[in-house]
């Protein structure tokens, strides 16, 4: 995330703030009317925060360039809505479409692995 934000040319104070915002987070779990001790949260951004969605969008923005660049001849196009991804391709017949989609999917998987991003296979 930090590398990505610096690469995108954000001001240093803002990048520093994001780093500080992300690190050393804690959560106090409460359930069935009980409240526990504070526990460490080692990754991620808190889902209730107003910055989280925008950070998530920045985090995923790297995926576009990579797939569209690497598989140029597939002429694919990615469309995201926050965490929902749709990858569109065009071809002369179904077989060609499937082939192209498979190549894109492989590229997406590579990106996801490199960026420690997990795709929910069960929901796909």
């Amino acid at each position: 995330m930090i590398k990505r934000m610096e690469g995108m040319g954000f001001e240093a104070d803002l990048v520093r703030w994001v780093e500080s915002f992300k690190e050393e987070r804690k959560v106090i779990m409460s359930m069935d009317g009980n409240e526990g001790d504070s526990m460490d949260v080692e990754m991620g951004v808190p889902q209730g925060s107003p910055v989280s969605p925008v950070l998530f969008v920045i985090y995923l923005s790297g995926l576009f360039g990579q797939v569209e660049e690497k598989e140029k001849e597939c002429e694919s196009e990615g469309i995201f809505f926050v965490d929902d991804v749709a990858w569109v391709v065009e071809g002369e017949d179904v077989g060609e479409c499937i082939q192209r989609l498979e190549r894109c999917a492989a590229e997406i998987t590579i990106w996801a692995k490199k960026n420690a991003c997990q795709l929910d296979i069960e929901k796909t």
Binding site: A12, R16, P46, Y59, D83
Partner: protein
């Protein structure tokens, strides 16, 4: 309520009148509720008395059932259950430490105006739940009326130093069951709502706006990225996809779409 709103829109009533009518309406509802309850109690039959007693007890509070971990152990105490759900909701990172940000410099904080901060305080609903400190937005708005300079200084300093104070990084994690799950004996069937401290959220909101503005101004995001961007709704995303498909059809070609879901958006941002 609809009538009141319409009167206000068409300029038949002043803001003050609307407020008064609205509170009148609420009072009426409250009074008739109380009246109904009294009637019910005074005319209750033998069975209805027990029904009435049940109504007075706080509802909805049930104990979560025992949970099985992935390794097959059973968690019965609430501490064990909370631990399991926490591990499911907040994953551990797969990779090592990331690179550190620059320790000095940056001029973003200079662009943040008092007005931006005021908007962050007064935007959003006052009804949002508070974090572990129990300070709701209403309290923060009162603080703004009283000493806005203090809030402004805190926000600007936090951005300039690039430090989000530790007290704002501790959230309350409230466990609620996800609806319609086949098995409530596993941690996956529950979700954790993280409640943050409201004053911290003011700083976060200011930072979020600064990042989003920068993204749009310098065109950092891809055209196909929708969601939490201004003037780009889910409908637009679907529209863009359909347009692409129809274009392909227009050329006599076939189009195919691969739909995927990124796992647990927020908890996985590395």
């Amino acid at each position: 309520m609809g009538l009141i709103k319409r009167a206000r829109k068409e300029g038949e009533a002043s803001q003050q009148q609307v407020k008064k009518q609205r509170s009148n309406l609420r009072r009426m509802i409250r009074q008739s509720k109380t009246e109904m309850w009294r009637k019910f109690l005074s005319s209750a039959t033998r069975d209805q008395v027990w029904q009435a007693l049940r109504y007075t007890k706080p509802g909805g509070q049930q104990t979560t059932e025992s949970l099985r971990s992935r390794t097959g152990e059973v968690a019965t105490s609430w501490e064990e259950k909370a631990q399991l759900i926490k591990e499911e909701a907040f994953p551990k990172p797969l990779k090592g430490v990331e690179r550190k940000a620059q320790e000095e410099g940056g001029e973003m904080w200079k662009k943040i105006t008092d007005k931006d901060i005021q908007v962050a305080v007064f935007d959003g609903s006052v009804k949002k739940a508070s974090g572990p400190d129990r300070l709701v937005f209403k309290a923060i708005r009162l603080l703004w009326e009283w000493d806005s300079q203090r809030i402004i200084n805190i926000v600007k300093m936090s951005c300039r130093l690039g430090i989000h104070p530790r007290v704002w990084k501790e959230a309350q994690g409230v466990v609620i069951p996800r609806p319609n799950k086949p098995d409530y004996g596993v941690a996956k069937a529950y979700r954790v709502i993280t409640l943050l401290k409201c004053l911290g959220k003011v700083v976060e909101k200011v930072a979020a706006n600064a990042i989003a503005e920068d993204c749009e101004r310098r065109r950092l995001l891809h055209d196909g990225q929708f969601g939490c961007r201004k003037r780009r709704s889910a409908i637009d995303a679907v529209g863009r996809m359909m347009k692409r498909v129809e274009e392909a059809w227009g050329r006599g070609n076939t189009a195919a779409v691969l739909l995927m879901d990124v796992k647990g958006a927020c908890p996985h941002v590395a």
